[in-house]
């Protein structure tokens, strides 16, 4: 590869030797695309005709009044086709895949958002598609699996390890080392070996580019602070990248605080101090690992933030003090989501709601002339099962129980205790 892919001490490309030519090819395609103004133009056209870019920024007047401090603006990535910022990255990689002449894509998915986005892109581009998803996630995210299958994707439930996101990533790599000739691995976040973190950030930078311009046009100034949730880091880097050169804008990344501090209870790699630097899944960053370097279980109410590593680019921003990192606990997140739904009619994904938590904590003590911008990375209506469980809605449970009864009556052959891992 031409570049090492390091951001100071983070990043790199720790890849099996068999993938070296594949990564060379990918880097070349990426650098070429980046150098080619036509690519970005094609990308913008695709996103503005297939999804609805530019996504708007919405002034949250009710929340602003509620908190009585800074003016709260929201970047609406939830309005993207398939319901999250994931579409940006995926469509961009679709264009790159086509440039490389490949006709099959694979991807990992945790919450299912990236899987749905990739399956959608594959349908649109006419690629074959296989999605790796932890068996635990398959079981809890059936709606997403349903749509992926409808799109024609094969969804493979990964039973190994903790049967969640990181294991799906490993499994996707295993597929890739076998099928790299015709297959592109559409990594879903700003992690993994170079050039993925940089490439994904570049594609997601469309968020920040738009947002910066929109703030200037709509509000007449840049925001004092920008908030984004941090799973792998792609939506955060997407919006941050619009403001990296604006020293007066404070960038705040919000990680999954889960049940609070203590290994195993959260997925906060930067905000808490349970993580340390390591190398896994092809790159060097902060990982939640034990002294031997074994990755540890993580926890979050939001499947999309429940990941052991974090973008090396964010790790570098953290190290350099160029961004601040906080964590929001599960309870805070559900509360912030409910408040946002009720006050603004917006339904932020549980992932996105992490960013709202921190903004809500800080807005009241800011001046009313201050402006903050929250990245609403996705919408929660796809995650209704998770949200209904988080809220513990008895009517929902009754509905599901009645529905199950209906299915059981209609077909006695369906097992009523079995596991539905594919």
């Amino acid at each position: 590869m031409q570049h090492s892919g390091y951001f100071n001490q983070f990043g790199g490309a720790f890849i099996p030797e068999i993938l070296v030519p594949t990564f060379n090819q990918l880097e070349a395609a990426y650098l070429q695309a980046k150098d080619d103004p036509q690519f970005w133009q094609d990308y913008e056209t695709l996103m503005s005709t297939y999804s609805c870019r530019a996504t708007p920024i919405t002034f949250a007047q009710n929340l602003t009044e509620h908190f009585g401090g800074a003016q709260i603006y929201i970047k609406r990535e939830d309005l993207n086709h398939t319901g999250a910022h994931k579409a940006n990255n995926v469509m961009g990689q679709g264009l790159i895949t086509r440039r490389m002449g490949k006709r099959r894509v694979i991807a990992e998915t945790g919450a299912g958002q990236h899987g749905v986005a990739t399956a959608t892109m594959a349908a649109k581009f006419g690629f074959d598609c296989t999605i790796y998803m932890g068996a635990v996630d398959v079981a809890r995210q059936r709606p997403n699996v349903f749509w992926m299958e409808q799109m024609g994707a094969e969804v493979i439930a990964v039973e190994d390890g903790s049967a969640t996101l990181k294991d799906a990533i490993n499994e996707a790599f295993r597929d890739w080392v076998t099928n790299m000739d015709d297959t592109h691995y559409v990594l879903g976040t700003a992690c993994g070996p170079y050039p993925f973190p940089e490439m994904v950030c570049w594609l997601q930078s469309i968020i920040g580019k738009e947002a910066r311009q929109q703030m200037l046009e709509r509000v007449g100034k840049l925001p004092e602070r920008v908030y984004a949730c941090v799973g792998g880091g792609s939506n955060a880097m997407g919006i941050f990248s619009g403001f990296l050169d604006d020293k007066e804008v404070e960038l705040v990344g919000v990680e999954a605080g889960g049940r609070g501090r203590g290994m195993g209870h959260h997925a906060a790699r930067l905000a808490y101090d349970d993580a340390k630097i390591g190398v896994a899944q092809g790159y060097k960053t902060y990982f939640l690992q034990n002294g031997d370097g074994q990755m540890q279980d993580t926890h979050s109410v939001s499947a999309g933030l429940d990941y052991v590593g974090v973008s090396p680019i964010l790790a570098d921003l953290h190290e350099r003090g160029a961004a601040r990192f906080e964590a929001a606990t599960d309870d805070e997140v559900v509360e912030a989501m409910r408040l946002t739904v009720r006050k603004e009619g917006l339904i932020p994904a549980l992932e996105s709601s992490h960013a709202f938590v921190q903004a809500f904590k800080e807005a009241p003590s800011m001046a009313s002339t201050d402006v903050i911008l929250i990245n609403q990375s996705g919408r929660a209506d796809k995650d209704i099962f998770t949200v209904a469980d988080a809220i513990d809605d008895p009517k929902w449970k009754q509905f599901i129980i009645n529905k199950a009864e209906e299915y059981r009556r209609a077909d006695n052959s369906i097992d009523n205790t079995g596991d539905d891992h594919a």
């Binding site: 590869m1 090492s4 790199g12 490309a13 720790f14 890849i15 099996p16 030797e17 068999i18 070296v20 030519p21 594949t22 190994d160 390890g161 990181k166 490993n170 790599f173 295993r174 080392v177 076998t178 099928n179 790299m180 630097i277 390591g278 190398v279 896994a280 899944q281 092809g282 990982f287 690992q289 002294g291 031997d292 370097g293 074994q294 990755m295």
Partner: protein
């Protein structure tokens, strides 16, 4: 932690890498195709690991890869993957693996290599890890997720300790890449027979010849071929084509399906002429 052993090497003593080269050279004079086997340390437990080493040495295995388990064995297929996970679930630690290595390299007269992922070295501290490797009598290492570009610290530590870094040749590697890998390798190089991960079938055929010729051209080191070797037929095919055959997943499969005791017969079968 570990007993004995100085960290500087007497210039007069051959380094572990030199010992490894010499051992392989000597054995190759006796035997046209050497056999390298692979086990996951601590799977299903360290006692069984020890029994397997013992029996393999007795059955004429020429050298062994000892895999220190890792939670994210990205380059391994399902069999080794699960062995890693179960070893960890049973509580295997790097420290225990080091003690195990120390014991087997003291007890058995064949070369032992470590196989593991980079984070295991990184977590301990690369230099310290490599120093300990040397101290416990390990002669080289295979780190499948550490290409030479990322391996600066590792390579210099290995050099300092006189250990053999073993790199991996693949069918998709260009001639230049093979030379580069060879330059950074010592003891032997590990040629993977095909794309993919460990533990899947490989169709051994003369299709391999061009690839192996490219490997030969790139290095004077002995060539070990792995990924999918699992029968006497495979061994017969490889004899004359490479120096070392590597049997990995199949041993674990035999052990899982027929018990530790069956490993011996399996190895004997492979080595039979």
């Amino acid at each position: 932690m570990l007993t004995t052993a100085s960290t500087t090497l007497e210039t007069t003593m051959p380094s572990p890498a030199e010992q490894l080269r010499e051992t392989l050279r000597a054995r190759r004079e006796q035997k046209e195709l050497l056999l390298m086997t692979h086990i996951v340390l601590g799977y299903p437990n360290f006692d069984d690991s020890l029994c397997v080493v013992e029996s393999m040495v007795k059955d004429g295995v020429d050298l062994m890869e000892l895999q220190i388990p890792f939670s994210e064995p990205m380059a391994d297929g399902p069999v080794i993957l699960r062995a890693n996970a179960q070893a960890l679930a049973a509580g295997a630690t790097t420290e225990q693996c080091m003690r195990f290595a120390e014991r087997v390299s003291a007890e058995f007269d064949i070369p032992f290599l470590f196989m593991t992922y980079y984070n295991i070295l990184f977590a301990t501290g690369v230099e310290q890890f490599v120093r300990t490797m040397a101290e416990v009598g390990i002669q080289g290492a295979i780190i499948p997720d550490l290409p030479p570009e990322e391996g600066g610290e590792y390579l210099s530590a290995m050099k300092t300790q006189g250990l053999a870094p073993v790199h991996i040749f693949t069918p998709s590697s260009s001639p230049e890449r093979l030379r580069e890998l060879a330059q950074h390798s010592d003891g032997l190089v590990y040629c993977v027979a095909r794309k993919g991960v460990t533990g899947k079938d490989t169709a051994f055929s003369s299709d391999l010849d061009a690839y192996l010729a490219r490997c030969r051209e790139s290095t004077d080191l002995p060539l070990a071929l792995g990924f999918g070797v699992k029968s006497k037929e495979d061994m017969d095919f490889l004899r004359g084509r490479v120096d070392i055959a590597v049997v990995g997943s199949e041993t674990i499969r035999v052990m899982e399906q027929r018990g530790v005791g069956a490993v011996s017969a399996f190895i004997e079968g492979l080595n039979a002429r």
